[in-house]
Amino acid sequence: MTETPQRKKRIIELDDALAKVKDGMTVAIGGFINSSHPMLVVRGLIKRGCKNLTVVGPASSGLEIDLLIAAGVAKKVVAPYVGGEVLAPIGPAFRAAAERGKVEIFELDEAMYYAALRAAAQRVPFNPWRSGVGTSFPQMNPAIKEFKDPINGETLLAIPAVNIDIAFLHAATSDPYGNVQYIGHGYGDRAIYAAADETYVQVEQVVSNEQIKADPLKTAIPGADGIIRARFGAHPYSSPGHYIEDKAHIKRYVQAATAWAKSDDFAPLKAYLDEFVTGPKDHAEYLERVGIRQLLSLDEY
């Protein structure tokens, strides 16, 4: 009797994942403010010179989105917030690019953001939302329309679907077949995945299928299209259960981006990009430049 054919592994090289991204696509980045961003991908998009992307950030985006703006990758940003909390209350490049008309903002709040992603996941052109009636949102974002609901005639906002061509996420583990599990709740990554046509996930570690099956409730992404091996792959941001954010490194970026924002001096940003984004030939070299001693200092406990 014939052997049962076996499954293909979904572990792919970073460059093969990045090659899926074409100019003008809508690309999403997972995580939340200072945590869990797929930073191999973020740096990779810049290094490859991707342009004209619509970037869907996390519901609360961090400075990874700011970096994509600074590097000229993002033509348009879908995000209810871009900043780094105390490390940068407002993303410096986000602020500067917005003020200078160099990036388009798809203005919405977090609830509208999820309504838009959910519409994409559900394959409907919009979802209704109540909060926002009476505010400036429909004026700031003309894609959001005020309308009368067809049941009661109440005034609501129609939030258009934001369809994601490719989502990039960072998580704790996956098996070789793309069953991804987080440590902790995973922020809004599941909602991003649900709205995306394809999803590639960086993980700290690839684990056995048996380990995944030991707790199927934890499987947040049941079948990513590709898994990218990425130890310390969220650096300089935190990776829950693995390491905290690298504040010193983030501050270095903030300083560079602030110089651009305040005095239109791109030199410090260029230096940052040269050293940490375009310079290193791969992730290992990036981590070498950060320094193992520094990485080992990022323990949670």
Binding site: A59, S60, A79, V82, E107, E110, A111, R130, S238, E245
Partner: protein, 260 residues
């Protein structure tokens, strides 16, 4: 013991909270955080206290450590339940018992507020703000909210917001929100380093409620860019009791952030 302004502000917020309510403790918002935890430890054992997108059980923690970042995984270690962020923002029933705290770049006399930016033309802002985050929704879906700001000056308290990202009382009137079909109770207090303000019944214009120790009514008026309703007598904001201050300093704010 003498309470600091921030400790007084936190106590004002605490006193508004009732046992059983549902509240989120943001990171890097030390005043609301302390207010929520003070109410929780002193008289709100059955409050649902949300820390870093988890429902936290901190009631018997001797010291409730402060975290600088909402993404600090260590802040989830007290969790009884995780909320996926999308569920937190989209499932609204639990917010009927919710109370929310909002900051702002601009606030007008009806408690409308702006986190988007400064400038008349949205396409050419003079100052781009951080964005609305979840404030637009949370100020509608919770039972009420408080505006809490770290400074009190005419750049914040403006006659008219350039953009409204969170609705207050619109152009005024008790029915400003209900006529738009909005379920929440709207803004109740505006808490600043100078004073506490609320909104006059009927007109819903902002009204001075109390001034913090050492602050005069005149100080408030000259730092507010619109005309406040000023009652005939304006009391001094009630400071925390000694016991409250002790709980604040030993269990909630052991790093002394509110004393800076």
């Amino acid at each position: 013991m003498q309470a600091t302004t921030k400790e007084i502000m936190a106590t004002v917020l605490a006193r508004d909270l009732v046992d059983g309510e549902w509240v989120e403790v943001g990171a890097n918002l030390p005043v609301p955080r302390a207010g929520v935890l003070l109410a929780h430890l002193m008289w709100g054992a059955n409050m649902s206290v949300m820390i870093a997108m988890t429902k936290a059980n901190v009631l018997n923690e001797p010291v409730i450590e402060e975290f600088e970042l909402i993404t600090d995984q260590r802040a989830t270690r007290w969790a009884e339940a995780y909320y996926l962020h999308n569920d937190l923002v989209e499932n609204m029933k639990f917010r009927k018992r919710g109370v929310f705290f909002a900051g702002a770049l601009q606030i007008d006399q009806y408690g409308n507020s702006n986190l988007i930016g400064i400038g008349k033309d949205y396409k050419a802002l003079k100052f781009r703000g951080p964005g609305a985050i979840g404030v637009c929704n949370a100020t509608v879906m919770n039972s009420r909210f408080h505006l809490v700001v770290n400074s009190h000056d005419p750049r914040i308290f403006v006659p008219k917001c350039d953009f409204i990202s969170a609705l207050g009382w619109g152009s005024g009137g008790d029915d400003a929100r209900t006529k738009l079909g909005l379920p929440g109770g709207g803004p109740r207090y505006v808490v600043t380093p100078l004073c506490v303000m609320d909104f006059e019944d009927g007109s819903k214009r902002m009204r001075l409620k109390s001034v913090h120790p050492g602050v005069s009514v005149e100080d408030v008026k000259k730092n507010t860019g619109f005309e406040l309703v000023i009652p005939p007598t304006v009391p001094t904001t009630e400071p925390p009791t000694d016991e409250q201050l002790q709980v604040l300093r030993t269990r909630i704010d052991s790093q002394g952030i509110l004393q800076k």
